[in-house]
Symmetry: D3
Subunit: 136 residues, 6 copies
């Protein structure tokens, strides 16, 4: 089920075809997963989203790609996005996340959620020592 | 402001004193930040929480400590826990997170939130290729 | 699957029958969708919920009905309510939301989520100029 | 700070005055807390909200009032509503919540959040035995 | 579907077997539901999670077990954890939650969410009278 | 307080100065609000964020600007972003949102949150009639 339909012949649109070709090339597979197939309903949104993903999640940055996928998983879990948890877990595994790293990631996410809720229940004041402005 | 009071003489309780001493030793400072001061209202909860933090966030695991703090920040941002974002950003910096890593972390968190919401708006089906059970 | 059962003969209860008839009349169809069928387990809750929906989402107010459905979708996406995203997208389309408006709505929701997370990560102070109390 | 202003003379409006009087009577104090003072900007919304609170949170129902306030706190923590956590913690204490119950409530909320995130990270299938429809 | 696989012969691991036996004994059934079957991928995480559930949710505490399950449901609904809502609704029913209590719980959760969002939209200041520190 | 510092002389950076000038021109005021001042810590992120805001929230699209700000508020409320609720309420008012529209927006957001939680508590199946794929 979905709230909008994926186009039946996405490659008929030049913008979509260019993005799909780039996805296929960058991943070495013909398979296009559902987020891209459905975003193709709006070629400009597809193009912008893919471009941003490539730029932010690519390998030539300060944080390595596998770690960035693990951070992506953490946010997706907290936002309860089922599709995103699945797709980025698959991506993290493709970039080398081991079983041990996956379950440790789960531990960190779960503990963060636990203390997030503890702290919100207590409504405690932020220590002034944490303030970046104070330290500049 | 807070919903429960921090005890005025926390070190008077043996359990609390032991935890506070361990916090001070492990960080090399006498300063005890607010989450621990307020949790001291319930010494058993304080002890369990500190013990779990030490075990999960310590350095002798599969994911390095700085990365774990960055994952912790990601969850805390998505759960909108102001205190937690402050305290774990301070912890990540203490463990070596650079300014460039911090802003790149922000980019990853923000992009994840963006696609989380896009995907939830589309309600697209999960690709069967993502299923771990299918692959075992 | 569900956590409570829909009654098998909902029209046997007078309160339920009156609400179901009103739903059928106001929509011009005999079909009753699942939220109402399951809420019928508690006729008073069914009646109150339908009454509130009719009052808030009706056409005789300051914001037009199509726009209110789009706002409803936005909240439902952020709260990760799958059923709600589906049902209110259908409602918005029934009230005239075009494909172009739907994808633009997705863009606004996604961008809001992105900057929500950026801002929460930065924990920046609210500008005093935004304070309504200051301006009165 | 706020996004709308509380009226300066709320009692000048008959609807507001009636609600404020009812709040004062039911609590035995002249103090009106901020949610009601700001909702008075829209007397109909004030009246409907107070009426719903009285009806749902009152004492003549299946779940006792103190427990309902504790459930209210749990939802408010998960939704990160600072004002709500404060006001309903005060209400729960006024209805008899002890310090030991408050910290036990915190433990349950924190554990629930922890396993919520664990389960969402695993994306496990729901056991068919949990299905209410199956059991009817 | 899932993001990690449940082990095929979980009882082959001693830690897993001990936990599964304890689950079976404490519930009087051979059935092990999915959260435990999948957590068995990481025996230490399984053991710690079960141990914490037993300790926090057990019967020998300040808040009765049925009420704790209802609080657990409230958090799970707000965090949009489908599996958790199902499993803890089943647990609450097993501990005596009636149909009337279930729908009243739904009313409280729904009303809390409503006022959480109202208050967040208004961004109203917290009344100083709610501050626990002020009252000590 | 904040987790990163705003640069003291932001206009000294050419990229920042160009963005700030564009913000000032498009709004007809010299005042730069905090999100932009703090994002200036990372000029590329500042530039990309402002560019996306201008493109998505501008006036030349299918949904009018005031409505888009109201949708933005809805998402920001559900995501509990205090700063965002303040800044986009100010923006919506600047684009003509009346007091009556603001409180009606609050009603719609609050009702959506209420039924989001009701539906998630019930875990009801999505009606197949809502499926866009089915209708294509």
């Amino acid at each position: 089920m979905s709230t909008l339909t994926a186009p039946e012949n996405p490659d008929a649109d030049d913008t979509v075809k260019a993005v799909f070709d780039d996805i296929r090339n960058s991943r070495g597979t013909d398979y296009i997963n559902n987020i891209w197939r459905y975003l193709a309903r709006d070629p400009a949104l597809l193009k912008d989203t893919w471009s941003e993903i490539k730029s932010v999640m690519g390998s030539d940055t300060h944080i390595d790609s596998k770690t960035k996928e693990m951070i992506y998983i953490a946010v997706s879990v907290a936002n309860a996005c089922s599709y995103c948890v699945h797709s980025h877990t698959a991506a993290a595994k493709a970039k080398g996340m081991t079983d041990a790293e996956q379950t440790e990631l789960m531990r960190v996410i779960a503990l963060a959620a636990k203390t997030n809720h503890l702290v919100t229940a207590m409504q405690i004041p932020v220590d002034s020592t944490f303030d970046a402005d104070q330290k500049k």
